[in-house]
Amino acid sequence: MVNTALARRSSPMSLRVIFGVLLGLLVLSFTLGTGAPAAHAATSDVCVADAETGCFTGTIKGVGAGVKLTIDGNGLNVPAETDKDGKWNAAVTVAGLYTITLDEKTLPEGVTLKGDAVQERDITLGFVKATIFSVDGATGDGADNGPSQAEIAAEGFNWDRLAQQIVSGLRLGLLLALASIGLSLIYGTTGLSSFSHAEQVTLGGLLGYTFANVLGLNIFLTIVIVVILTGATGYIQDAVIWKPLRKKGLSLTQMIIVTIGLALALQYTFQMFYGASTVRILMKNPETFTIGPVTLTFESLWAMGLSVIVLILVGLFLLKTRTGRATRAVSDNPSLAAASGIDVDRIIRLVWVIATALAGLSGVMLGLVLNGINWQTGMQLLLLMFAAVTLGGLGTAFGALIGSLIIGMTVELANFVVPGDFKYATALLLLIVILLVRPQGIFGRKERIG
């Protein structure tokens, strides 16, 4: 019974993923092996998705049996309850949007919900939709007490929590830096504020999911493949879209709107092939380790290490190599650079490749440290990237690095002052304040602000 359920739902799922990769990249074609059923974490052994049934399912780790949920919508009201492993599922017979409500009163004592008790999910008949409710303070089997739970559970200020938040801020800042350096380089060399850069980050994460989870490749091999593929999308984009548009003499405002159109199209493409729910890059629960007051997953540690190495390499490239110097020259003054014999188009092409590859790398690692990725992960970070880039000074690569670290810290440390819901808002408010006080940013020069 379980096997048929798996077979039935895994094949359309993996087909869609393959479709996504094929269409999205036009680069590779491959057939799917047997690793596919890993696609969704929670498996139900009661609800079977078929032509007339869709299944909502999920696992609330460590809460045990008796947590009640209701699935409401399209004229249906389906109750669900967790079993002893915290698994729940519910069958619906009409496709569409449902509201899944977790009854917080039924949570065991000492366990609190992290995030919304009410979630909306779209479902199509024949599919299984996983819904994640995370909780704090769970103690039962499989309780997922990662660092984030610990840090949010802590109320008020203490030094241990400060250390934990600073490390989290550093982690966010480094991953943000990978993405925003590209954004800044593109702005510096072409003057374009690329709104579709966020989708490059999401693309990286979703490709990471495709290779590491669906195809079961090693995570480091996955990262290499993702960086190559996302870099290729940058090359293709510049060749097919941006260079012809520059030659056509499109104004920057028009180009910004083109990137917005591209971002819209990409977001819905992701949704079409990967669905609207969050997918995880690695299936196993992350292992953690503790140094003093700070608890981190191993993934976070090597993601931070890798970011530092890559950022240093990018820095060395910009400072020490001929091409890197040429890049900075184009950033400074494209006409003068062209006059002194630099092939500006080649540099811009290179910048697009570097920027998209770094964004892809950032996407995979964000997916790893944030415990999953969905179609709008990148979009949620775009404004933080803009904030980082503006803070550092639009168009300066090193400014973007410093700006990212400051924004990362702000977001994570804002928890001490304001409720968690407002942490991104704090960073955006910081962006507006910077523009009031020093619009050119820390490293920017005044003439850029016009």
């Binding site: 009410v118 405002t253 910004i256 159109g261 591209l262 199209a265 990409l266 503006t390 619009p439 016009g450």
Partner: protein
């Protein structure tokens, strides 16, 4: 054949929806910003959300309809002032980033669980809680009325009353913008779009004029938001960034810097999207694209259409290329 008739019906029904009218009002506001003044406002959905919250929260607090409407207008004005002061002296793309960030801040505050008792958090506010003061104004008797192939309630949630009011407002605001733009004030505004420094050299306070334009367009956005949520509910996530981008698409489709462009664009935008979705749904079997995916496909096409529009016909359907200044 029936399926095609259904597509045609859906298209025409979508064109006259009250939410389409609300969308058109917001697009007229955005047109004042971008089309006439040259301001790159990327946060029009933020103005809509401010207006929606202003009206619904004020009504729930017990204010009568007209007072709640004044709150909406006031909220739009204050939001425009807050946005304008730091950014109107800076170059265009800074305004774009700040407006989009500010709109996001509004959305995040609106959906924060701390404010559950006021804004309903991420669930928003259901329409029944604030709709009654508006429905009570309806002069129509109860019952249904059929006009052409449309058969709606007279005063119901999506009935004739709100449709007539919303579309009348669209016409009133379009005419108002037309009158404004042929006034001396409008000539200064268009002058700012063409050459800010030239206008400044004539002794005009460019900052003040831009601020006035930002407020007018923003208040239109807020009123659009109010009428967007009257027949539906306040959902902070429905009035997010993508809403702004869709308004931009509609405005550019109809023609920026024209009076009727945003209105035509809004009506066409929804009809075309339904047309794409319906056609794909009929022509492509479910095995390749299921119903949900055809909807997503239609949105992908919206994104592609926006790109193509800006590249090949930035003036849209009604526009004049000379009237358009993209070099902000």
């Amino acid at each position: 054949m029936d399926m095609w008739i259904k597509v045609l019906y859906d298209m025409s029904a979508n064109m006259i929806l009250p939410t389409t009218a609300a969308f058109a009002i917001a697009a007229i506001g955005l047109n004042v910003h971008f089309g006439f003044t040259g301001l790159l406002n990327m946060g029009q959905a933020g103005f809509m959300l401010i207006g929606a919250y202003g009206f619904s929260v004020a009504t729930i607090a017990g204010l009568p309809f007209w007072a709640a409407t004044l709150v909406t207008i006031g909220a739009g004005t204050i939001f425009a002032l807050l946005l304008g002061i730091p950014t109107l002296k800076l170059r265009g793309d800074y305004l774009a980033i700040v407006t989009i960030a500010a709109a996001e801040i509004v959305r995040m505050i609106g959906r924060a669980s701390v404010l559950n008792s006021v804004t309903g958090g991420s669930n928003g506010l259901p329409g029944e809680t604030y709709r009654n003061t508006f429905s009570a104004l309806s002069p129509f008797p109860d019952g249904k009325t059929a006009i052409l192939w449309f058969d709606f309630d007279n005063t119901g949630v999506n009935g004739w009353f709100i449709r007539i009011v919303a579309w009348s407002l669209v016409v009133i605001f379009a005419v108002l913008v037309w009158l404004l733009m042929r006034s001396p004030w409008g000539r200064v505004i268009k002058g700012i779009r063409e050459d800010e420094d030239a206008v400044r050299s004539l002794g005009k306070n460019v900052f003040a004029f831009k601020m006035q334009a930002l407020i007018i367009g923003g208040v239109l956005g807020a009123i659009g938001g109010m009428f967007y949520v009257l027949p539906t509910s306040v959902q902070p996530d429905a009035l997010g960034r993508n809403m702004t981008f869709l308004i931009w698409t509609a405005m550019l489709l109809g023609g920026a810097a024209t009076i009727w462009g945003p209105v035509l664009g809004s009506a066409l935008f929804f009809a075309l999207r339904i047309f794409i979705q319906g056609t794909v749904d009929i022509l492509i079997p479910d095995a390749i694209l299921n119903t949900q995916q055809t909807e997503q496909f239609s949105w992908i096409m919206v994104g592609v259409a926006l790109m193509l529009l800006v590249i090949f016909r930035p003036q849209g359907i009604l526009g004049d290329k000379k009237e358009l200044n993209f070099n902000v």
